[in-house]
């Protein structure tokens, strides 16, 4: 067993790491069921319907962090990655959501800190996967560390990139590669759009994903001091 404290949890929404503003995160997924119980049945029966999910966030108000407020009421598609026990090591668990925010609240008690709450609804499948690039800076073209995802799969994947800081004028291309051995035979399976500013993107990958994956960063240096801080999460579907 390896139980985890909640203090290390991470939530990234769009281009912002909200972790240091939040005090709780609650992910809930549910499955509709359709009752199929008929005459002469001896026990209730049902068949599976459609799955859905939501993420509830609570934290401390900061006027400099507007993401939770600005995405409220917007079109679905905000990229959100939730790591229940944190993103401190490659392979840590990550939940990948494309969300629409359906509720946002600010609370100003006379005797306490100003607080915020937000409710988001998943738009499409929630990915249960892993962090394959920690929220860290890269300053040159580099092949990332190999992450062992335990087995090959054939039904595709979802991937998120959250770029929280990007130097102006430079361009960064982030791709995901897979390999059967973890040491050779690397091939690109996912490509994010070129990044020139703080941003986030969710991509859907079809087909076979081999056991090992890594993130490759390619830098087009114009400034002379290129740097990008980003996290990539990956979930087989």
């Amino acid at each position: 067993m390896a139980f985890k404290h909640g203090k290390a949890a991470s939530v990234l929404l769009g281009a912002t790491d909200l972790s240091t503003y939040l005090t709780s995160a609650d992910l809930a997924a549910d499955l509709d069921t359709a009752d199929t119980t008929t005459f002469h049945a001896t026990w209730k029966s049902a068949i599976a319907g459609t799955a859905g999910g939501k993420l509830e966030l609570a934290g401390l108000y900061d006027p400099g962090v507007a993401d939770l407020a600005t995405v409220f009421g917007g079109d679905p598609g905000s990229v959100l990655t939730y790591c229940p026990a944190g993103a401190v090591a490659l392979g840590d668990m990550a939940r990948l959501l494309s969300v629409s925010e359906i509720a946002y609240a600010e609370s100003s008690p006379v005797g306490g800190v100003v607080a915020v709450k937000a409710s988001t609804m998943a738009d499409g499948e929630i990915g249960f996967g892993n962090v394959i690039h920690l929220l860290a800076e890269e300053t040159s073209t580099v092949d990332g560390t190999t992450v062992d995802l335990t087995a090959q799969s054939t039904t595709g994947a979802i991937a998120h990139v959250h770029a929280t800081a990007v130097t102006a004028t430079d361009t960064f291309d982030i791709t995901i590669e897979d390999s059967s051995t973890g040491s050779s035979g690397w091939a690109t399976v996912g490509t994010f759009a070129s990044i020139t500013a703080a941003s986030a993107e969710r991509i859907v990958i079809a087909g076979t994903i081999k056991q090992y994956v890594r993130v490759v960063t390619t830098v087009t240096d114009v400034s002379g001091t290129p740097a990008i801080t980003f996290l990539v999460a990956f979930a087989r579907t």
């Binding site: 067993m1 390896a2 139980f3 985890k4 404290h5 909640g6 203090k7 949890a9 939040l22 005090t23 709780s24 995160a25 609650d26 992910l27 809930a28 997924a29 549910d30 499955l31 069921t33 119980t37 049945a41 001896t42 026990w43 209730k44 029966s45 049902a46 599976a48 799955a51 939730y82 229940p84 026990a85 840590d92 668990m93 939940r95 249960f128 335990t150």
Partner: protein, 137 residues
């Protein structure tokens, strides 16, 4: 009498033993009834309908890749196909009850919670969609 402490309880879902991750398990079986109470009755009456069941789970999050509760429950949830469950209310030892639910546990809800001041936890709800068989180990 042979009362049992709740700490002995156990659950195996889809061949994976989740017992050491759980902090509570509530299995309930209920029977629909059709009220037959009429005017001038002195006491309510009813007819038996169809029984059903539900299992509520709560426990500590563990990221273990294939045998942790997240992996097992999420796999069953997204699979949307009933899996086999073995429920041990008083533990998996001789003399204790065992509910065998063959291909009848449909995971209908799964949640994770990360409080800044405590341990990461999970909850799950399971609809029991076949008649469970009770036996004594």
């Amino acid at each position: 009498m042979a009362f049992r402490h709740g700490k002995n309880a156990g659950l195996t879902l889809n061949t994976k033993d989740l017992s050491t991750f759980l902090t509570s398990m509530d299995a309930s079986w209920d029977l629909d009834t059709a009220d037959t109470t009429t005017f001038q009755a002195t006491w309510k009456s009813s007819l038996a309908g169809i029984p059903g069941g539900k299992i509520e789970l709560a426990g500590n999050y563990d990221p273990t890749a294939t045998t942790g509760p997240g992996a097992v429950l999420w796999s069953a949830f997204t699979g949307a196909v009933p899996v086999t469950g073995l429920v041990y209310p008083g533990g998996n030892v001789t003399g204790q009850a065992l509910w065998t639910i063959t291909s009848g546990c449909l995971v209908t809800a799964y949640s994770e919670s990360s409080p800044v001041g405590g341990i990461v936890t999970f909850k799950a709800s399971i609809d029991v969609v076949v008649l469970p068989v009770r036996s004594v180990i």
